[in-house]
């Protein structure tokens, strides 16, 4: 009896790990499909990279993504106002990134508004996500 229980537990643990891994891969694809349905695409990491370094003057100061997140996505960033450390965005350096759809959307919305003074277009968001995922 005991070995079969043990086997069942192991199987459940494996299942949990696999579904977590699958869930971790899905959010960006889901979002890209969503952006495509809004008329955007195809997406390119090169366009995302260009967008990343684009300087925009908003609220009287030059702002860009890299200001807080750094140009090196594997590096720890620094909040432009508070100086708080921002964990690396590159999934290779920080596996927690791009695993939570709600979180991705929230921060894209909040940070686009801060940087550009407007929401990003589906095309811009798709390009940036593809770029981040490639790092």
């Amino acid at each position: 009896m005991i070995p079969s229980k043990l086997l069942a537990s192991c199987a459940l643990v494996l299942l949990g790990l696999c579904s977590a891994a699958l869930a971790g891969a899905a959010p960006v694809d889901d979002l890209l499909r969503q952006y495509q349905s809004q008329g955007a695409g195809p997406f390119s990491a090169a366009a995302g990279e260009k967008f990343w370094e684009l300087t925009n003057t908003h609220a009287g100061e030059p702002r860009r993504c890299a200001l807080c997140h750094s140009s090196n996505l594997s590096a720890t960033g620094k909040h432009a106002v508070t100086g708080k450390a921002i964990k690396p965005l590159a999934p290779s350096a920080n596996p927690e990134r791009l695993t939570d759809t709600e979180k991705i959307e929230k921060w894209l919305e909040r940070n686009c508004k801060w940087t550009l003074g407007r929401s990003c277009t589906p095309q811009e968001k798709g390009d940036v996500l593809v770029m981040i995922r490639s790092r």
Binding site: A59, T82, G83, K84, W107, K113, W114
Partner: protein, 368 residues
């Protein structure tokens, strides 16, 4: 020259003087551990002196220097007329300094222990939960410190003037014990008692500053002061700054924070309605007004009812507590980064024992 001051009396005098100086140097919260130890040492010294006033040698006994306003006034007038009366033991003005300093020092020990217990969860009254009494004791502690300093200044001035007029070095007398007097006025040295005093001071110093003791004590104090933080609040509010515990601002400040969330220091939080309500409710229930911690009590009582500051650093209590911090520290560290100096910022405990000023400056003092 004859020995007038026995050794324990002299030891008491200089130990108290040194401890008092030490208390001034360690008055910043970041040095509370040493400040507290010196306070207990002063308490012990006072107890010794009270006993020695009855069982000590002739000139150390209270009976030899009664408190008399008329005698002190007569003595001071004599000094002003440049013909001071000679006293073998304490003169009537010096007696006043002694009784005043003993009383003030005793009050400092008491108010210090009350404030320490209520505000820092440290010391014999660590279980005392009345922040109100702690606040009153802390205020009294600050006022009495200046009163004591004033008495010390007058005492030192009196000793200097008295030494010049009497043509004998009274400071040296308090070191060597010897004064001009007749042979029959002499007293024993009482080295044995002095030896016990030194041993007790050495042992207590060693025990207090033993390796690891301060850390273990800080951990206990932080645990006693800690407030839990809601995990949703923690994850939603820690993106750009530490997740400030709601107890750091009054409820009206949190209401305003949520009302202006579309311009939250230049960011649009744009929280989903349900989450916004949930977080606002949590903040309102746990705001400073709920008085869950000594810091919450201080903040709640420092912010005028008409004000609803959006930043913790705009509250009068925060400003008062940080006005002596070297401005250079805030050039290196943003005021939102509490954890840069307060190692327990995430627990909202803000224990004095958890302060280490960012950048290595040990004392948060101006112009240093």
């Amino acid at each position: 020259m004859v020995r007038v001051w026995d050794l324990p009396t002299r030891l008491f005098h200089w130990a108290l003087a040194l401890a008092f100086a030490g208390e001034w140097l360690t008055r910043d919260a970041s040095r509370l551990d040493v400040h507290e130890f010196l306070g207990y040492a002063i308490g012990g010294l006072i107890l010794f002196r009270l006993a020695w006033g009855f069982v000590g040698t002739r000139w150390a006994r209270f009976a030899s220097f009664p408190l008399s306003a008329s005698a002190a006034w007569y003595y001071v007038r004599g000094m002003l007329a440049r013909r001071p009366e000679h006293h073998v033991g304490h003169n009537p003005a010096g007696s006043w300094a002694i009784y005043l300093l003993l009383t003030l020092a005793a009050l400092q020990v008491v108010t210090g222990i009350v404030a320490l217990g209520a505000e820092q969860r440290l010391g014999p009254l660590a279980a005392m939960p009345t922040f109100e009494l702690g606040d009153a004791a802390h205020t009294a502690h600050l006022v009495l410190a200046y009163a004591m300093l004033a008495v010390v200044v007058v005492h030192v001035a009196g000793v200097v003037v008295g030494s010049l007029l009497e043509r004998q070095n009274l400071v040296r007398s308090m070191l060597t014990g010897a004064k001009h007097a007749s042979g029959t006025d002499g007293v024993e040295a009482r080295r044995g008692v002095a030896g016990v005093m030194i041993a007790l001071l050495a042992v207590s110093t060693f025990a207090w500053f033993a390796a690891g003791r301060a850390d273990a004590r800080a951990q206990r104090a932080i645990a006693a002061l800690s407030l839990p933080l809601d995990p949703v609040w923690q994850s939603e509010c820690s993106g750009c700054h530490i997740a400030y515990h709601p107890s750091l601002l009054p409820a009206r400040s949190w209401r305003r924070t949520f009302a202006v969330q579309h311009d939250h220091f230049g960011e649009d939080l744009d929280l989903p309605a349900a989450k916004s309500r949930q977080l606002e409710g949590y903040a309102m229930r746990n705001a400073a007004d709920a008085l869950q911690s000594p810091v919450a009590w201080k903040i709640a009582h420092s912010v005028p009812a008409s004000a609803a500051p959006l930043r913790v650093s705009e509250t009068p209590y925060w400003r008062e507590r940080h006005e002596r911090v070297d401005p250079a520290v805030f050039k290196r560290v943003h005021a939102s980064d509490c954890g840069a100096c307060h190692r327990d910022a995430d627990n909202a405990s803000f224990s004095a024992l958890a302060i280490h000023v960012a950048g290595g400056a040990s004392a948060p003092r101006k112009g240093k």
